[in-house]
């Protein structure tokens, strides 16, 4: 389009403004597309999950809706341990054992004082 042509500073400014506008337009469009994809996929998986729940009435609620891999099952007793420390310990156990957190059950984490 402009190959081999001389440009004034006004032209350069116009091109720059058009360029940054183009980049923003493109990425804003993508952002909208991502939102739409997420909504459509979310609606689909919701429909799937609800049909699974009605089909399989013998399963408990916790089995019908799978937990994300970053969330553990059940409840845990924390004895002298902060929630942050417990989260780190559980993540390490999951990582070292190669078992996702949603397949691990922690009963309690207790601080052992050094004598």
């Amino acid at each position: 389009m402009l190959a081999g042509k001389d440009l004034s500073m006004i032209d350069a400014l116009t091109i720059s403004l058009t360029g940054i506008l183009m980049v923003f337009t493109e990425l804003v469009l993508l952002a909208f597309a991502v939102v739409i994809i997420s909504k459509v996929v979310g609606a689909f998986s919701k429909g799937k999950n609800s049909s699974k729940t009605t089909d399989n009435t013998t399963n408990s609620k916790s089995d019908a809706v799978p937990l994300p891999e970053t969330q553990s099952r059940g409840e845990i007793d924390l004895i002298d341990v902060s929630q942050e420390d417990a989260a780190v310990i559980m993540a390490i156990v999951s990582n070292k054992s190669g078992i996702p957190l949603n397949r691990l059950v922690f009963n309690s984490i207790k601080l052992l004082e050094e004598e």
Partner: protein, 392 residues
């Protein structure tokens, strides 16, 4: 012929006798870059082959980048020479000139990239766009200097995208004569991101803003991750067709990874293929930095403009991050904006480090990865825009 004549002829034909001062300087530059890559570990994967290519090309009399067949430059053609008479690095350089190597690198980058954080927070794309501000500032500054053509200015501007393959892709099409300095500047500054960005980030944000802890990102489903690369390819290419090669290969690599049905292809793209191409691209790009071509005022200007581009790119991302901080009433930490300059994952790590300095319990890495990968798309779009305007 006596011993002295033989000795004199040997010395006269050795590299020492024909070494020019430019070659000597470039050899010293290559030693410095080797030092930075090996000892300081500045982007060693690319800086090391680039530096060694630079060294090889500046050793006198090797003809390693000679082009007697005139494949790259018809003015160098010697009558009767065939393509295989060209120097070995000149032949490999065809992969850069034809844009094959940058595209294959993008394939590997795509196979290594997780777009999950970006899909979880689509507003990251805006930060990736804002950080392209540096590209257009450097473009205008290059033109203002009056020593570059508009095509060269556009190629220099792309340094601000902090994306090596995109910079090489654009330079090889718009300003092949500046490919060496542009590639060296782009990779050197990418390596120096941990030094360049923090002062700008701190200058543009308050302590309170830097302390902001962001909400955990939602989990992204596999279906979203599979659809994303297809949608990006279609949307970006429809808008700017010149971006098809870069974005197409980036997204193909990502689809290899996310689809989960072509494990072998994904593994090859993100390991063997990208490693092989990196060696060939690095060495041949370094070899374009021949003393007589490299040691010019233009090169010094490119080095300065590259720094300007990086600084404005960082500022653009941080300032939009600041705006998002106010709009969301303090839910967005502006430090993640600087990661919009691509340079994956170095720029995101800088956001993480700066965030933790302000608040030790702050974990910004995953939040910064969104703008970081958005920056890769943004810089490719900016490159496509310039190619659309200035490409022949």
């Amino acid at each position: 012929m006596n011993f002295v004549d033989v000795l004199r002829d040997t010395i006269a034909n050795s590299g020492f006798a024909i070494l020019t001062w430019q070659q000597g300087v470039m050899m010293i530059v290559s030693f410095i870059l080797l030092y930075l890559a090996i000892v300081k570990k500045f982007e060693p994967l690319l800086l090391l082959p680039i530096a060694f290519g630079m060294l090889l090309a500046n050793l006198p009399g090797t003809g390693i980048m000679a082009d007697p067949a005139g494949i790259m430059d018809a003015s160098q053609a010697i009558p009767g020479a065939r393509w295989y008479d060209d120097g070995v690095l000149r032949l490999i350089y065809a992969g850069v000139k034809s844009s094959i190597f940058p595209c294959l690198i993008f394939l590997g980058v795509g196979a290594m990239t997780d777009f999950g954080p970006l899909i979880a927070r689509p507003s990251s794309l805006l930060l990736g766009a804002a950080a392209q501000f540096g590209i257009f500032m450097a473009f205008m500054a290059s033109l203002a200097l009056g020593i570059f053509t508009p095509e060269q200015a556009a190629a220099i501007g792309i340094i601000g995208g902090a994306d090596g393959p995109t910079a090489i892709f654009t330079a090889s099409k718009l300003a092949p004569e500046l490919l060496g300095p542009i590639a060296v500047a782009a990779y050197s500054y990418m390596a120096l991101i941990p030094l360049i960005q923090p002062p700008i980030m701190r200058a543009l944000t308050t302590e309170k803003e830097r302390e902001v802890k962001m909400e955990q990102l939602r989990e992204v489903s596999k279906a979203e991750k599979i659809i994303f690369p297809i949608v990006v390819t279609v949307l970006c290419t429809l808008m700017i067709p010149d971006v098809a090669a870069l974005i197409g290969m980036l997204m193909l690599g990502n689809l290899f990874k996310e689809s989960g049905v072509v494990e072998r292809l994904s593994d090859t793209a993100q390991n063997a293929l990208i490693n092989i191409v990196t060696i060939m691209l690095g060495v041949t790009v370094g070899a374009t930095a021949e003393g007589a071509i490299f040691l010019k005022v233009q090169t010094l200007a490119i080095v300065g403009l590259g720094l300007l581009a990086f600084a404005f790119a960082t500022a653009g991302g941080v300032l939009l991050g600041k705006l998002m901080y106010y709009v969301t009433k303090g839910k967005v930490n502006p430090l993640i904006g600087s990661a919009g300059v691509s340079a994956v994952p170095m720029a995101a790590r800088v956001s993480q480090v700066e965030g933790q300095k302000a608040n030790p319990s702050n974990f910004l890495l995953m939040h910064a990865m969104g703008p970081n990968v958005a920056g890769v798309i943004g810089s490719a779009v900016a490159a496509g825009f310039f190619l659309l305007l200035f490409g022949s």
